[in-house]
Symmetry: C2
Subunit: 259 residues, 2 copies
């Protein structure tokens, strides 16, 4: 670790509509959140950095509270950094906060939990204002049944049935701390907090809950789906544009040390 | 009036971000809400129609409840028309309702009142999700003072000071029935209902209320501004993208006749 460098942690909000996901792709010309952040650091701090995100988000998926970190020698005061970087970022990416953290803090490895939110636009005709920000489901959804199914997913389980293949995680056991299904007006918001998420896990859970809400499956199906450890037993993958990375949690000790 | 034709009234929602306003421009290649609606009727009903809106909206301004009407010989059942037209419309324009009205109903001339809403994103860093849907004001706004100023605009007044020139209206006297300023979280929503609106009237009122909220003007200024009948005495024109046409009101008699 270069002793002159400081480790900066940024809280980032973005509208994922125009991007090919968070992570820079093999084709470096495809716009990604990561590439835009690195370009902004280059323009403002004159440094070529590699930013580390708490995790990837898919193309079209949004974030209200993505966390990233990078090492910098820049002398821009940390409280001026959000405004400076925002001046170099497109309007659909905004730095909300910046702070120094201890030198070995890592936005991905040190995350102890995350909360995602998934928004459903549940009315016959989709809202034009939510066409990129919520999954339009025109059918009647029984949210009481969805809540019942959701409750059965809370706890420590093997979520292999809710993992899209291609995931490299060693284990598919995760602990879901919270899974709420809240209806308000024409919106249904599903909030899920877990110690970690498998590839497409939220979208596969939502796709299954929607089938329960439509009456295609019974709430009790969830226990069988978990037991099967087989992706084909769960519902379809809900679209990416209804999904928001809401919050990433860290131990204060890993952020700021014991001091 | 062609006896075989029926008069159709549509309730239309649109995201104005991508359009050069409601009304078709001199340059017919500029995308407008009107041109997209007429194209959709052409594709679905095979008719060249001229749609009449309740009024224009500016480039970037949105609508939750724009009302339009047009004469048609189409035999598509009225309850199927929204879905049929929506299949031919871009995703940022949606027909919410369709109904037959009496043959001489006119969406503009027959409107007896309208409600507009204006949304302010009032926080230090703008929300990425509202960059096209709310006016970002980073300064502290005193909503109690804004409410006080707003209250002084309710009633029948000469609103010449709040009219951007270029307006062709014969009189600048209008009656404001309601003008609410409601703060909720980081949003401030201004709702204004009147029997009619002069060109840019809502945006000029909002620009003035924001100056009151920032402390640049006192709430009592409104009486002097009205009295002056001089556009230069009021505040600046707030941007178009915070504005929504919420509802247009008609007498049931003009819609459906006395029968």
């Amino acid at each position: 670790m270069d002793g002159n460098k400081k480790n900066v942690r940024l809280l980032v909000e973005y509208d994922g509509t125009a991007y090919h996901g968070f992570q820079t792709q093999e084709d470096p010309h495809l716009p990604t959140i990561q590439s835009k952040l690195e370009e902004a650091v280059w323009r403002i701090c004159q440094e070529k950095v590699r930013v580390t995100g708490s995790g990837r988000t898919d193309a079209g998926t949004h974030a209200l509270g993505q966390v990233i970190n990078f090492q910098t020698s820049s002398r821009i005061p940390i409280d001026k950094l959000p405004k400076a970087l925002n001046s170099a970022l497109p309007r659909d990416i905004r730095i909300q906060e910046a702070e120094y953290v201890q030198t070995d803090f890592h936005a991905c490895y040190d995350a102890v939990a995350k909360t995602y939110q998934y928004v459903i636009d549940n009315q016959p005709t989709p809202s034009v204002f939510r066409r990129c920000y919520a999954y339009h489901v025109p059918h009647d959804l029984d949210t009481a049944k969805m809540q019942k199914a959701a409750a059965a997913l809370v706890g420590t389980h093997d979520f292999a049935s809710f993992r899209t293949s291609g995931s490299s995680a060693r284990t598919s056991v995760r602990t879901v701390f919270q899974l709420d299904v809240i209806a308000s007006g024409s919106s249904i918001t599903i909030t899920i907090k877990a110690d970690g998420f498998l590839y497409n896990m939220v979208r596969n859970i939502v796709g299954t809950l929607v089938e329960v809400g439509r009456g295609k499956r019974q709430p009790g199906c969830v226990a069988d789906i978990l037991k099967a450890r087989d992706r084909t037993k769960a519902g379809p993958t809900a679209p990416a544009h209804g999904l928001y990375l809401l919050e990433v949690y860290y131990d204060d000790e890993r952020l700021f040390g014991n001091a």
